[in-house]
């Protein structure tokens, strides 16, 4: 069980790090709130 949770965590982290590069491309989203973009992602 612990192994499965660990694998799921690694999978989530990899997916989210990939998503970060896509998410940061637009200026903002449809809404009126923009969370602070981490400095390493700013371009």
């Amino acid at each position: 069980m612990k192994k499965i949770i660990n694998k799921l965590c690694y999978f989530s982290v990899t997916t989210m790090l990939f998503m970060a590069s896509i998410i940061v491309t637009p200026t903002c989203f449809a809404w009126h709130y923009q969370p602070e973009v981490p400095k390493s992602l700013r371009k």
Binding site: M16, C28, H32
Partner: protein
Amino acid sequence: MSYLPISKRIAGYLSFQTGLSAEKEEIITYVIEVTLINLFNIINILFLGLLFDVLPAVITCLITVALLRHTAGGAHSNSPWRCALITAIVFLSISIAASYLAHIKQIYIDIMAIVAIAIGTFLTVRLAPVDSPSAPITSANRRKRLKCLSIIVIGFISVVIVLLRQSLWLHTQEVQVAIILSVLWTSFNLTHFGHLVMSHIDRLRNPKTKEVN
């Protein structure tokens, strides 16, 4: 960096399980925050659209504003909850207005469309992309690319309005008016006045909040 406690908690757990660096944990927190806020707002808006029987207009509003704000940007609120409230009120008002205005003569809708596209194009060419202190655009190339993309999006929206004019679908006029009002709202958000209104809303509950931009 200020994120929602839930985003920080999930990112902290994932970081602990996988041994991430502080920098990567911050990125993960940002992704979780964006995902949660987007999901919450989409579900909230769709539910309200269903409740008020203006679902086609709400979906149109959502797509149009998302397309435009993705490239052109605009004014922002300082709080995710105030943002959700503003989004719900604005999107719902646009949708309800669209459902009422859908019954006017097509010629008036055409005039509204021409005016909205003219204003949208003018403000996009002059002001877009409008960034925020939380997500500054640091590269000149990216700024240029986003301006080009926003002009393309305005062009695409104009084509959709023209194509919808030929459609026989029951909700055509409602959708057309929803697009027009969404373009006007997004264009307004590009202006200094739009920023002033947003910072004014931010100060309603928190008088110490500084002006955005």
